[in-house]
């Protein structure tokens, strides 16, 4: 039985329209005009225990709304949602005791106090038994390398340091499920790697189910075997990264380094899409032209020092998926 079941979930918001101009603003003040925005237009998916799922989509697509419904914060308009057999917003207290949440753009730590004080406060809020707390805290402190930060007031931490502490704070009560809403936003490369590495280990070693929303495709490639893509409140794609690629495009890229940087490159079956100095990127469809044949032709015609065949980067795939969605819906 799946740990998380979502069926036809719908959530709309009512937002006040604020038209431009003074006169319109006055009219809006007297009689406000409301517009209904559909954040979730009937999404469905299921998650098994121990999955690590990436949840991506453009800003305003409904990612955070989904996470907030799943974590019992928002009440949806209609649809079914069960997490570990509970309806999050109906049994909110029992539900949230077993989940951990990190909202990357907010803080759950007490701004003026040392990190350790916030941890103690969370221990009491979640009523974690002393022995369990000591063990969980020790493990988290070691895994996230935050021992030196515990005595520092939160306001003095860097974003990367704070995010590691936020992760620890959300896991002190050893939840079964972790919702990460943009945990790597604004982090530098080293902090991102630390966060990714920790999440991967948490999922592999502890079997914690993780739902990760992000705009950073490297997060997805590094961590997730399954990716759900959402746009305009609908799930466009749900599956492995490879399946997502195959759905959107079959094309591959051939990157060559020329001996002569000024040489013109062309091929009947491939298209030059980028050129930086001696490096030329060719796009081709392997179902129409064999990769080996293309390489043969290109190396015969040009002085090639080095070459590399790769899939288009995931950003490119996602951008096309969003683009196609826009055309279809707009």
């Amino acid at each position: 039985m799946p740990q998380i079941t979502v069926e036809n979930l719908v959530k709309t918001y009512r937002v006040a329209e604020r038209p431009e101009g003074t006169f319109a603003a006055v009219r809006g003040f007297v009689r406000p005009v409301y517009r209904t925005v559909t954040a979730l237009g009937g999404i469905s998916f299921t998650l098994e225990r121990g999955e690590l799922v990436g949840y991506i989509g453009p800003n305003g697509a409904g990612k955070s709304t989904t996470v907030k419904v799943l974590s019992g914060i928002l009440v949806p308009d209609s649809g079914r949602c069960e997490v570990s057999g509970r309806v999050p917003w109906r049994e909110r207290i029992a539900h949230v005791a077993r989940i951990g949440v990190v909202f990357g753009q907010r803080s759950q730590l007490w701004w003026d106090l040392p990190v350790a004080d916030s941890f103690d406060l969370l221990r009491d809020i979640y009523a974690v038994p002393a022995a369990d707390y000591a063990r969980a805290r020790e493990e988290l402190v070691a895994a996230l390398d935050i021992a030196p930060l515990l005595t520092v007031p939160v306001r003095q931490l860097s974003l990367g340091q704070r995010m590691r502490c936020e992760l620890a704070a959300s896991l002190l009560h050893t939840p079964d499920i972790l919702f990460l809403d943009e945990p790597t936003i604004g982090l530098d490369a080293v902090s991102k790697l630390a966060v990714r590495d920790f999440v991967r280990r948490l999922n592999r070693e502890r079997g914690v189910t993780v739902i990760l929303t992000t705009h950073d495709m490297d997060d997805i490639e590094a961590l997730c075997t399954r990716v759900m893509v959402i746009a305009n409140g609908r799930i466009l794609s749900d599956g492995s990264l490879d399946a997502l690629r195959a759905r959107v495009t079959t094309e591959r890229w051939l990157l060559i380094d020329l001996a002569d940087a000024d040489e013109a490159v062309s091929d009947p079956e491939a298209e030059v899409i980028a050129r930086e100095g001696a490096r030329v990127t060719l796009r081709f469809d392997p179902t129409r032209t064999a990769t080996a044949a293309l390489i043969g032709r290109v190396t015969a015609a040009h002085g090639v020092r080095d070459l590399l065949v790769q899939d288009p980067p995931i950003e490119e795939i996602i951008a096309r998926l969003y683009g196609a969605e826009k055309v279809a819906s707009g």
Binding site: I73, V75, V101, L121, D124
Partner: protein
């Protein structure tokens, strides 16, 4: 609501206040200054209006003023009732509040109690230490009066916190919350006796003030302290405080239950 969580919130709040030593000293200085001004003004009034007997003597009034200064931070007096939760609402961090395995109204009530009571420790003790020996503040006339006052102060804390939690919940309906948050303190300050002691209000105002809950926030406990009300009056005062506390709690809970259903968490 587990008790440990509340104690922990209180401890965290207290530690946080201790971090701002300058703010604590400045706050104390301000209250001392205002206390002296209020004493001088009331003294002038008493000198000029002494022909008629006042319902409260000058000595009693002075003690009343200093009690007001000592417990000023307990009253939701500033431009907003609970800046902490209000900031959470504005920034969207309120999502974290709802992701905790605690009854939300209980959590906010506990936060309000912590926010109202922790600073009192830092303000009231020094105020007593200064005002009793130097500025004419009297001690309770009897042990019974002191006990009645202490119990009524706890009642006042519960009442004030339930009221400010209700104000906090009302913020779910407005983005900035400044409107209610600015109006309410003026009403509370006047109707609780923090500006002019309630016994000195005109006769026509007395029934109105007695019908309102705000006297139980400051005036009634203060008068128990001075013996202006006998200790035997305490049970009725405390009962009235608890009744109003329950009323504010029920209203706050009902409002919160509705607010949560229509909640929009700000930003993403």
């Amino acid at each position: 609501m587990n008790l440990r969580a509340y104690l922990s919130l209180f401890a965290a709040r207290f530690k946080m206040l201790l971090q701002y030593r300058a703010a604590a000293i400045a706050g104390f200085g301000t209250q001392l200054f205002w206390g002296l001004i209020r004493v001088m003004i009331l003294e002038a009034f008493f000198r000029n209006g002494a022909a008629t007997a006042q319902p409260m003597s000058l000595a009693e009034t002075i003690t009343y003023v200093w009690l007001g200064q000592a417990f000023f931070v307990m009253i939701p007096y500033s431009s907003n009732p609970d800046p902490e939760i209000r900031n959470m609402m504005r920034s969207g961090s309120v999502a974290y509040e709802m992701a905790r395995p605690l009854d939300l109204w209980g959590l906010w009530y506990a936060r309000a109690i912590a926010a109202r009571s922790a600073p009192v420790l830092l303000r009231a003790l020094p105020m007593f230490a200064v005002a009793v020996p130097f500025f004419g503040m009297a001690l309770p006339p009897s042990g019974a009066s002191a006990l009645a006052w202490a119990v009524a102060m706890v009642g006042a804390l519960l009442l004030v916190s339930a009221f400010s939690t209700l104000l906090t919940v009302s913020l779910l309906w407005t983005v900035s919350g400044d409107g209610i948050a600015r109006l309410a303190p003026s009403l509370v300050l006047i109707a609780s006796g923090m500006i002019v002691p309630i016994p000195l209000f005109p006769d026509w105002a007395q029934p109105i003030l007695a019908a309102l809950p705000f006297g139980g926030m400051a005036d009634a406990p203060f008068r128990l302290y001075m013996g202006h009300l006998p200790p035997e009056a305490a049970p009725l005062i405390v009962a009235k405080q608890l009744l109003w506390t329950a009323a504010f709690a029920l209203a706050g809970r009902a409002l919160l239950a509705r607010g949560v259903r229509r909640l929009v968490v700000q930003g993403g």
